[in-house]
């Protein structure tokens, strides 16, 4: 309940405690997401480039990693659609705000379009939103946490970036459907 209220006041939209699950950080959350939503041999889409320590987690689960290029405004969704014609990913991992390592941010129309694609193509979006609160003046677009009702969205958060490194109490925001 305390986390729901912290997230609600930080994000300006309401979060219910029932939609949250506490983990020990993003890495563990990703590991569990892979365990629950994928089988060995499945495909995961990631941004190209992306957070390098996510790759071994996907490989541990026998996933095939496919990179989707960025175009300066986050993931290039035209390229993503082109790749969706050739692959059937079960999971898409994205760092939508102040992306690691490029610093790019996905704008709101693209966030909505990506959620739409997740419904159309039946994959789960795992949005790594650890930098969402760390803007340098102007807040980023609404987090994927506020889009969970629109598609297959999991929003992963962490305290490791806003409290102390290694303190990874992540609030993951699983789908309601």
């Amino acid at each position: 309940v305390a986390l729901a209220s912290f997230l609600s006041s930080a994000a300006g939209s309401s979060f219910s405690a029932e939609s949250l699950l506490l983990t020990a950080g993003i890495s563990q959350a990703l590991d569990f997401v892979c365990a629950r939503f994928t089988q060995p041999g499945d495909t995961v889409f990631v941004e190209e480039p992306s957070y390098p320590y996510s790759f071994p987690i996907f490989r541990d689960h026998g996933l095939r990693i496919v990179g989707v290029p960025l175009d300066g405004r986050g993931m290039d969704l035209e390229q993503c659609e082109r790749l969706l014609a050739r692959h059937r990913p079960k999971l898409l991992y994205t760092i939508p705000s102040y992306h690691n390592p490029t610093g790019q941010t996905l704008d709101l129309p693209r966030r909505e379009q990506l959620v739409e694609l997740s419904r159309e193509h039946g994959f789960v979006i795992a949005a790594d939103e650890v930098y969402q609160l760390l803007h340098h003046g102007t807040p980023p677009p609404a987090s994927f946490g506020s889009l969970i009702d629109r598609g297959n969205v999991l929003s992963l958060g962490s305290f490791s970036k806003i409290l102390a490194p290694g303190l990874g109490s992540a609030g993951s925001r699983p789908m309601r459907s």
Binding site: S19, A24, F32, E48, P49, G67, Y98, H136, L167, G168
Partner: protein, 375 residues
Amino acid sequence: MRRMLAQGALVSGGNFNHFTSHVVRQLMESDELAAFVTQLRASYADRAQAMDVALRKHLGGIAHWRKPAGGYFFWLELSEGADAGALEAAARAAGTGFLPGTACSSSSGTPALSAPVLCALFRARNPRGHRAPRARLRPMKPSRSSLDNPRLRLAAIAMNRNDVPQAEQLLKAHLYEAPTDVPAIRMLAEVAMRVGRDEDAKHLLERALELAPGFMPARYQLAVLLHRLNDASRALAEIKRLLAAEPRNPGYRNLAAVILSRVGEYERSSAMYADLLKEYPTNAKVWLSYGHVLKTQGRQDESIAAYRHSIARDPAFGEAYWSLANLKTFRFTDTDLAAMRACVEDPAIDEANRVHLHFALGKAHEDAGRISGLL
């Protein structure tokens, strides 16, 4: 959600992280976490700014990047021919480092890193050795001891994000309990100055100095306030007392130079700036002020040189370009024009710099008779 909750490990353990959840919960319930995040944002914004200035200075010719609007990371794309290996060795020798961009590639064989393959990543976190330009730092910070009080710490955070009502409320509540806490009185005076209640601020500072004549931050603030109220002679008297206590303090010397130029003592003022710049040659803002005094003294060439120093220290410093444009006989070179254009096209540049740069560019075009180029 059901699918996540049905995990065997969760069914068995009930929670993945009992202990940490309780610690974090207490922090969230006390509101300290929200205040801390606000502080972090300001701190990362400062570091990113310092990093951007340092990168422009050292890598301006061989790499391209965009200053990030949040988070930790700068992503640099090296120009063709730049040697990433040599850069990495040089960075390591200088006690810093970066992660080659290729380490972040998933190498799946799909279209990847189609742009220059040589990419480099710098973490903006803890860029040791890169300090924010002094001019951008706030001149006064409450002393460490007063920040031990949680209410004062929250007040300082509120002032940092310019939430004046919140800061005022916290400070007044604190002073109700501790009416002679001099650092808190000084902070309340600063709050009053922010909203233009200068007379209130003056009384508060005089009260603080009555209680503690040796509390220099209050005296410095009083000098700033008197200068603002055009009471130059009293401001100078306060500055004199400050300098008697700490003759080499750069903040006091800078304020003295500002006030001296205001009262027409240009020679003493420019000598003071020259002396300051010998010790602090990287401060773009002081170079700018020095340029202004030299200009007033009719030392035009030296004034141009000072403005150019200022630009060399902060290549996006619009006010320095603007000051050059204001010199009657000065003409910008093609290199200047290219540099200014590159700055205004940078989406990350702040509004004040952009306005000054547009003015300077307009003046340059006007001088060259290229009015149509503006439209």
